[in-house]
Amino acid sequence: MKRFINQRPRRAVGYLLGLLPFVLLLLAYMAASAARLAENPNDPLLPSLGTLFDTFWRLATEPSRRTGELVLWVDTAASLTRLGLGVVISMAMGLLVGILAGLIPYAGRTLSPLITAVAMIPPLAVLPILFITFGVGELAKVVLIVFGIAPFIIRDVKQRVEELPTEQLIKAQTLGASTWLIILRVVLPQVVPRLLDATRLALGAAWLFLIASEAIAATEGLGYRIFLVRRFMDMATILPYVVWITLLAFLLDVALRFANRMLFPWYGGRRG
C-alpha cells in the first residue's frame, strides 16, 4: 500500500470529500434542532430548516410592517455600500502610497515608519475616536474599514513593488523611461493583480470591521440586524443572515479571482 502522502482522491471523490463536512454539520444541526423542538415547539434557539428558510424568505420578499421596506435588501445594500467604499478607498490608498513608498527611496523613508506604526494600532481601539470625530453616520464606518485594511494593503503593494527585479527598472531606464512612465507602464500594471490578491485577503478583516461598527451604531445593515434581533434571541433571523453574509463574502472573493484571471492573462503564467 502506498504512503498516505502519495494517495490522491480522484476528482469526483475529491468533491464529495469536500462536501462531506458540510453535510455532517447540517445533519448534526437538524438532529439537535429536532430534539429541542420535540421538547418545546416554540424553542427559539435552534429553529428547524423550514423556519429558517421561511424567515429568510419573509425578510427578502415581504415589506416590513414598521417601515414598509424589504429588510434583507435594505440591509444588504447599506452594508455592501459601506464595505465597497471602504475597500475601494483602501485599494486606492494602497496603490498610491504603496507604489510611492516601494519605488521612490525618499518617499519610502518618509512613509514606511508611519505605515508600520499605524498598522500596529488595533482598529477597534480607535472606533470610539472615529465615532466622536466623524459622528455615528456612514463616514465613521467607512473610515474604520479603511483604518483596518489600508495599512495591510499598502504594505503588501509596497512589498510587491520592492520585489520587482531591479533588472526591469534598469531596463526601462535604458529605454528612456522617466520615473512617471516607469510607474505607469512597468510598476502599475504588474502591481494591480497583486493588489486584487491583497484585497481578497483583506476582505475578511473588512467584513469584521463593518459588522463591528454596524453593531455599535447604525439604523440598517447586516451587522445591525443581527445585533438588533439578538435581544429577542431570534436565531431564525441571525442564522440565515450569517449564511447570507458568508455567501456574499464568497462571491466577492470569486469575483476578484475571476477578474484577475480575465484581466491579467500573463499573471498566472509568469510564476512557472
Partner: protein
C-alpha cells in the same frame, strides 16, 4: 575616437576594494568580451558602464564626456534574466521603448504615430527572428526567444553602447550558438559597440574583437578584500593562441568549454 575611457578607476565598498587602477580605452565599434572568476569585479565594471554604480575614484568617460550617473537610452542592456516585461507581449515589449521616448505623459502612442512605431517594432522583431511571436507573452517564449526579445528591445533606442551581462549563460549550447550568430550579425550590420560579460572563457575568446580578463594582481591572505581586481589580460581576439587560453584558464579557474564543438 574612443567610445569609452576609464582613467585610473577604483571601486570600493567600505574597506573592500573591488576594482583598482583600471585603465582602458575602447574604440567605437569594438566588441569587448569580459571574463573573470566570480567576485572579480566584472559585473561591477559593467554596472559602472551602465550607470547603476559610480566609480569611487577615477574618471569614466563616454565620447570624452563624463558618463551619466544613471542608466539612460545611450546605453542598452541585456541581462541574463528579467530583461523583458512579463506583463507585455513581445510586440508591446519592443513598442514600449518607442512609447517611453515619445509619449512622456501618457506612455502610449495613438493613431499614425502608433502605426509608425509599430512598424519599427515589428521590423526589429523580424531582425531578431521573432516575427512569429508578436502576440506571445514572455512566459510563453523559450529562454533563447526571451533573450532575442531583450536584444530587440535594447536596440530600439539605437544605443551607443550595448551591454550584455552573461546574456546566454542560461541557454542550451545549441541555442547559444544561434545567439552568437545573431549578436555578431547585429554588431556588424549596426556598427554597435558591445561589452559582454561572460563566464564562458571560450565564448569570451572567440566572439568579440577584444578580450579583457579581470583578476586580482595582489593578494593578502589575511585580508582577501584588501586589494581589488584589475585587467590582467587585454588581448585583441584573432591572435589567440591556445597557450594564452590555457594560461588564462589556470589563472581564473574558469571552465573552458561548456559548448560542444
Amino acid at each position: 575616437m574612443s567610445a569609452v575611457t576609464l582613467k585610473n578607476i577604483w571601486k570600493t565598498y567600505g574597506r573592500d576594494v573591488v576594482l583598482e587602477r583600471v585603465n582602458l580605452h575602447v574604440k567605437s565599434g569594438e566588441f569587448v568580451t569580459v571574463v573573470g572568476a566570480s567576485g572579480c569585479g566584472k559585473t561591477t565594471f559593467l554596472r559602472m558602464l551602465l550607470g547603476e554604480e559610480t566609480p569611487t575614484r577615477g574618471e569614466l568617460l563616454m565620447d570624452g564626456r563624463p558618463m551619466p550617473a544613471e542608466p539612460g537610452p545611450d546605453r542598452g542592456v541585456v541581462f541574463q534574466k528579467y530583461s523583458v516585461f512579463p506583463h507585455l507581449n513581445a510586440l508591446n515589449n519592443v513598442l514600449v521603448a518607442e512609447e517611453f521616448g515619445r509619449a512622456r505623459l501618457t506612455g502610449h502612442l495613438f493613431g499614425a504615430a502608433r502605426r509608425t512605431a509599430r512598424d519599427k517594432a515589428v521590423a526589429m522583431l523580424e531582425a531578431v527572428g521573432l516575427q512569429q511571436a508578436l502576440k506571445k507573452y514572455p512566459h510563453e517564449l523559450s529562454g533563447g526567444m526571451q533573450q532575442r526579445l531583450a536584444i530587440a528591445q535594447a536596440l530600439m533606442k539605437d544605443p551607443r553602447i550595448l551591454l550584455l551581462d552573461e546574456p546566454f549563460g542560461a541557454l542550451d549550447p545549441g541555442i547559444r550558438k544561434d545567439m552568437h550568430a545573431l549578436i555578431l550579425d547585429l554588431w556588424k550590420r549596426r556598427g554597435l559597440t558591445i561589452f559582454m560579460v561572460t563566464h564562458d572563457l571560450k565564448e569570451g575568446f572567440y566572439l568579440g574583437t577584444r578580450l579583457l580578463v579581470f583578476d586580482k594582481v595582489r593578494h593578502d591572505p589575511q585580508a582577501p578584500n584588501a586589494y581589488g581586481a584589475n585587467i590582467t589580460y587585454d588581448i585583441p581576439v584573432g591572435r589567440t593562441e591556445p597557450e594564452i587560453l590555457a594560461e588564462i584558464r589556470d589563472q581564473t579557474g574558469l571552465p573552458l568549454a561548456t559548448e560542444e564543438n
